[in-house]
Symmetry: C2
Subunit: 322 residues, 2 copies
């Protein structure tokens, strides 16, 4: 009998769940808030409860399930299934999340970096279908990435590869949370894009319609900048242009190194749609070498906000099938 897989995408605000059958077809999905109190115990309990609820909804028992895939922010110890620490979920230090969830559900479990899981999902079920080489970038609070080379996710020698958000794109540039200067993330993530606008308005007192947004809302986010840019605000245009330029430079470097079929963009910033891709592609073509026409397409994720949880289920399927 064909068996199903459960994917769990652990985020700072929500935990998402998906059930996929062995043909990678989505059977059910649900979502629960990440417990803010109660530490790791409460989070693992919520993960187990959500998985059980998903099965109940489908009238299934655990013996019809191959296993559970967990997509988690890192850093992780993949080999041992441990979350070393995540900035957005308090109390997660050296947490053996894989084995604890496996015990709670009496099912085998596998841990993967959330962006790697997303890349696997997009590769198997989204834009990457029928391809062999793909890079996925998640443009949100930070910039995560997953890289598929010749059909397989790459992890590096010590499990800390595929961190394209921390390629250095500006020597001696702004200080990133990772301790490096000039990381791609520091110039092109949704958070830092907004921080840049806020600084220009608040510290440099540059004129902009965003000053009014800041006064009213107490902050500026990427959506505000997108809206102001559409309305013709020059400062919003400048900020958006800088972010898409650095993103383009990162994409060119990824083409030189990996020469992928596709670079797929996902995460909050991609809600901007063609407002993101149009200036990005313009910069990309201008920054790209002239030895040959660009052969790598840059596209938005086909799985949208579900790419992470679907990918997590794919992680389990790859691990436990056969």
């Amino acid at each position: 009998m064909a068996k199903a897989c459960i994917g769990i995408d652990l985020g700072g605000t929500f935990i998402k769940f998906a059930l996929l059958d062995e043909q990678l077809s989505i059977q059910a999905q649900l979502q629960a808030p990440t417990p803010a109190d109660g530490g790791p115990d409460a989070v693992i309990e919520a993960m187990a409860a959500g998985a059980k609820q998903l099965l109940e909804q489908q009238g299934m028992s655990t013996d019809q399930v191959l296993g559970v895939g967990i997509g988690s922010p890192g850093p992780l110890d993949l080999e041992n299934g441990i979350v070393i620490g995540t900035p957005n979920i308090p109390g997660f230090q050296n947490l053996p999340i894989r084995d604890r969830l496996s015990q709670a559900l009496d099912l085998p479990a596998e841990l993967e970096n959330d962006a790697n899981a997303a890349a696997l999902g997009e590769f198997l079920l989204g834009r990457g279908k029928h391809l062999q080489n793909m890079v996925l970038l998640t443009l949100g609070t930070g910039i995560g990435s997953g890289i598929v080379v010749e059909g397989r996710l790459i992890h590096g020698a010590h499990g800390i590869g595929a961190e394209c958000g921390h390629m250095i794109v500006q020597p001696g540039g702004e200080l990133c949370g990772c301790g490096q200067r000039g990381c791609l993330e520091r110039y092109a993530s949704a958070t830092y894009l907004a921080q840049h606008a806020r600084r220009l308005v608040e510290v440099d007192h540059r004129p902009s319609s965003l000053a009014e947004v800041l006064r009213k809302n107490g902050d500026i986010d990427a959506r505000d900048i997108q809206a102001a840019r559409r309305a013709g605000d020059p400062l919003a245009e400048e900020v958006w242009d800088r972010a898409t330029l650095y993103l383009a430079i990162g994409c060119v470097s990824l083409c030189r190194v990996f020469d992928p079929d596709l670079i797929v963009l996902s995460g909050g910033l991609t809600n901007a749609g063609s407002d993101l891709t149009q200036p990005l592609m313009q910069h990309f073509r201008r920054q790209h070498w002239t030895l040959a026409e660009p052969r790598t397409d840059i596209v938005l994720s086909a799985l949208g906000n579900d790419v992470g949880v679907i990918g997590a289920a794919c992680v389990a399927l790859q691990k436990f099938r056969k």
Copy 2:
């Protein structure tokens, strides 16, 4: 009966030949000048003649040989064994080098990018032995590279990957021959390092002992800069420091993306030995994230100047063994 493989490394000045047995042990090597006149015909003739000479020296016939591996500068069409064009060997346009050499020798042949071949050689016989993930950089006229992920060379979706010398390390930076601005090659290859010094002396009239070298020799090369730096010349120090800083930034980005066990350096600039590696490692540690200690070592090639030709033989062995 165990069979041998022939490696041919095609350079602008010399063609190198090596014979390896199936245990990857080097049996014989030789070298011949690359014919300056006579175009592609003369070069292919010289390649075939050198291979035959190598066999004669060993008292071997072609039926004791599995095949020939060719390492060539590019761009190449790997699938069809064609040199699309190489800047340093005149007349090489869309040359089906693989099939022509195969016919001339009556042996199967395989074509590979010269830096990829070098990486394979270093991986199988040099620093990369017993490892799974390695990046090799060739620091010469330009910066070439070969990348081994989980034991295999990667080529990309269109065969134009592993061009780490054309990662962009300086947005809007100096124009590279490839048409991009700010390529790593443009800041850290032996040629451009020397060009930078020459420009500071000749155009900016900066005081330096290198002005005297330029007057006497008509040019400045990387060795001159290394010598002047050792003698305490501040301009030579500045130039050397900038090149090693950019190289370090490139290495950090490679660590973030590939997380390799090793980055191996080869090519002319590595003749500088610890004069290269010491400042490079200092910059690398300073530029590297603080989330974890650097786990990737940066080392000099163990095969030195022969890494390319030995690698070319390895290409044949991997292709034709079994």
